[in-house]
Symmetry: C2
Subunit: 496 residues, 2 copies
């Protein structure tokens, strides 16, 4: 057996185990009674330990070196697979056991303290714990950077956005930071001038909302032989490519939230479902990082799902399922409802026009903190100044400021930029799909997502991790990541 | 670290992984869309391989030997745990890889052919495949027997009934075979003389049956913080002790079937839930084999659940949930419905009076086949002769005869006796509980299962696998397994 073949055998088992864990995690969020948490933590921990042992076995390093020597005999998929194996192996083995343990403890302590500091709106309460996390994250980033041959920040970013580089993100975000504030101001002014939007009056029973969600999933091409829709506190897409489990949550006063959750998670699910079947249990067969994934969900939710064409299709379907009637249910009003822009303090409540500003702020701040250019004690002030610059508002307290997101407190650094990279990816892909499929708008107005899904399958999903995120986007759209496409989308939708 | 402590560490991980598999198996039956089967098989296989590697690691044999030398320092739980570790290690390592592989293939081929032979009612069609399975089962049994120091049949039995011995089962079953046929004849005659039983008229919507099932589970003391009720093709109890998942199936024409499934599986679930928490992830903390497990489910379903006292409690509850009215819903009629005796060809449809005869027949035949005293070609004739002797009826074809059960065709030999050992265990435990708890009948009539559950927790569940099945029964009831207790139960209920 060649070294490469032996590596494939080992990674096959690794992914089968990881997939088992995905199902257990889905069950945890969607099915498990509260008293099952401790037992589930034991199960998940045991599988994770076994996975780590599989990949950190000293034989793997030797096999990777020997497989490199066999590289001439590998085809393009195999070569890409081998590169991904090494990348994963570096991430799994770069940190020694002491650092892994210390990070786990520090993140857990910091997250718990954050849960007290946030309601108290007091950053100082959690600053010591966050300082500990930050120090360890910098140490971990440096250890990975030495092995990956990149900067500390890029090494952290690499976990979420393989091959991503801050130096490439920076000019893109700088462009958005320049263009978006005036654009936002114009949109807000225009929407205010148009008068109030009508809100369909509830309540909307959960079972009817669920039936509407299932109908829309069917329209989007979701394959119920290979997936489910359930309920959880936070919507997510989980499971495995041949059995994709998505969830949403219901508010009987507002059906839009649950339905948008369904459409967003269906975008994630369709990406997983469309990954190359021949490479199911290999690194190259997996999705290409967070920004590409978010690109799929935002393409469905923001690009297609809030388009006027889709709302023409959705309006009668929603009325039929929810029993609505009157002018609030007119496609025109629904479109206004679905595209209302409100600058606010909270990222997760933001619309697509203001969302990037939240992300740009976090990207700037986390780079400065990792690089040592910003002291933690100065974070609240820097946050508020950034909000004023980017969104023209200042949070009344740290609760609506630098305490709002769990990410940093839980050790996720280098994650935030993928949200806006994803939004730009979605815009650029949808733009390219529209040019490749001239009747796309009409198809969507008729509830036919077949052409769009086919184009995504062929140009994105089916490539797995064969290309880099950048390479995949270039391959699919014929150009590098270009923020102008995203800005043009916003201008057309909100000022057109 | 002592050898024993190291073994505990290893078995902890093993059980956490097995528990993960239990959840995945539950999901497979209760939640998974059809298209997820292939991926799930990969996940389950990967975990099983890892489990096998954990326990068959050569270091384990050395650790077991070294721990034996430390035995003087172990307490009773630890010593019992060590003995169970060795037993499991023997089962996992007694067969070489070639034999495991050959059995897996042979059983799979035989089961598939059985699925064709059964509807064709043609045993000869599957005889060659079954011959192959039987030969391999005998080889496997012999290999385990050499390690366990027992007979081939007992080695097979040991997998389902640890420490069980055919020589001890034989006189018990011989007694039943003598006593039951005349008893059954009297019961049938008496029930015929009493005139027809009224059947509550449906349909009974699934949601109402489910609500009734949940209400009854609550009455039985099921803890919904640590478990769920769902639906599957075949009812079962799965999950893990802190998160027990039971299922049933619904027939809108007959609510008794689903409800009895719920009560039966609740008995299994309560056993798992009551296992000693301190030993969750060790062999000694697990349930004590199939007959003890079936003893718990049959105690709830057959002893308590079909008692007149429980039906007095159930009748108004069932009427309330299902909207029933009239004489068919009177406790007296429900009791007759719940205890109707009908000798028939099919084991899984049998009542508690005739069920043991089905099992005794299979026990006799499988011992003769394993021992070489019966040729496979003669199985159909031997089956039919046994049915005539034990139940006074002769199957019209092999479909209603030796082709009805999947067990042998799928490689499960030595399993059948546990059903009737379980029925006798249930009767003997319920009899002892009744003597220890003088007001038991009244408590059950009032819907109070607290005393019964408390007695089971203290006398059965909480002991895990610290004692043998026989030892546990003696400890709980003060006597060895005694078929007379079971027979007396039947006489009281059906002829009293």
């Amino acid at each position: 057996m060649s070294a490469y073949t032996e590596l494939e055998r080992r990674f096959h088992r690794l992914y089968a185990l990881r997939n088992a864990n995905n199902v257990l995690q889905w069950d945890w969020a969607a099915m498990m009674p509260t008293g099952g948490a401790e037992a589930r933590a034991e199960q998940v921990a045991a599988i994770k330990v076994v996975c780590h042992e599989q990949i950190s076995d000293p034989a793997v390093g030797d096999l990777l070196d020997r497989a490199e020597e066999e590289r001439a005999g590998l085809d393009a998929w195999q070569a890409a697979n081998l590169a991904e194996m090494r990348r994963q192996w570096i991430h799994e083995t770069a940190l020694d056991a002491r650092l892994v343990e210390a990070m786990s403890r520090a993140c857990s302590a910091c997250e718990q303290q954050w849960r007290r500091a946030r309601p108290a709106a007091d950053f100082a309460m959690v600053q010591p714990q966050l300082a500990e996390v930050l120090a360890l994250v910098r140490e971990a980033g440096a250890a990975k950077a030495a092995r990956l041959g990149c900067s500390t920040y890029d090494a952290l970013l690499d976990e979420f956005e393989p091959g991503g580089r801050a130096a490439e993100i920076e000019p893109v975000f700088a462009h958005l930071a320049e263009v978006l504030p005036p654009l936002r101001a114009k949109v807000v002014e225009r929407q205010a001038a148009a008068g109030p939007v009508l809100r369909p009056a509830g309540p909307f029973p959960v079972e009817r909302q669920r039936a509407l969600g299932l109908a829309v999933m069917k329209t989007l091409g979701f394959d119920f032989d290979h997936g489910r829709l359930d309920t959880s506190l936070h919507p997510f897409s989980g499971g495995v490519p041949d059995d994709v489990r998505i969830t949403t949550r219901y508010d009987e006063a507002d059906w839009v939230q649950a339905l948008m959750g369904v459409i967003h998670e269906t975008g994630h699910a369709q990406y997983e479902r469309g990954l190359p079947p021949a490479w199911r249990y290999q690194p190259v067969g997996q999705s290409r990082g967070m920004s590409t994934h978010e690109g799929q969900s935002l393409l469905m939710e923001m690009q297609a799902g809030r388009s006027r064409a889709f709302l023409d299709y959705l309006a009668p379907l929603a009325r039929e399922h929810l029993g609505g009637d009157g002018p609030a249910w007119a496609p025109d009003n629904l479109h206004r409802l679905y595209t209302a822009v409100h600058p606010g303090f909270i990222r997760v409540d933001a619309d697509e026009v203001t969302y990037p500003s939240h992300v740009i702020l976090r990207f700037r701040l986390e780079r400065a903190l990792i690089g040592g250019d910003l002291a933690l004690a100065d974070l609240p002030a820097a946050w508020n100044a950034g909000m004023q610059e980017l969104l023209g508002i200042t949070p009344p307290s740290d609760r609506e400021g630098c305490l709002q997101d769990i990410h940093w407190y839980d050790g996720a650094w280098g994650y935030f930029p993928t949200y806006t990279l994803g939004a730009m990816t979605a815009a650029q892909l949808y733009d390219a799909a529209g040019r490749a499929l001239p009747g796309l708008d009409d198809a969507i107005r008729g509830g036919d997502f077949g052409p769009l899904l086919g184009w995504l399958r062929a140009n994105v999903h089916g490539h797995g991790s064969k290309l880099s995120a950048r390479g995949l986007l270039e391959h699919a759209t014929g150009r590098a990541l270009d923020p102008a496409v995203f800005v043009r989308h916003l201008e057309r939708r909100y000022l057109g």
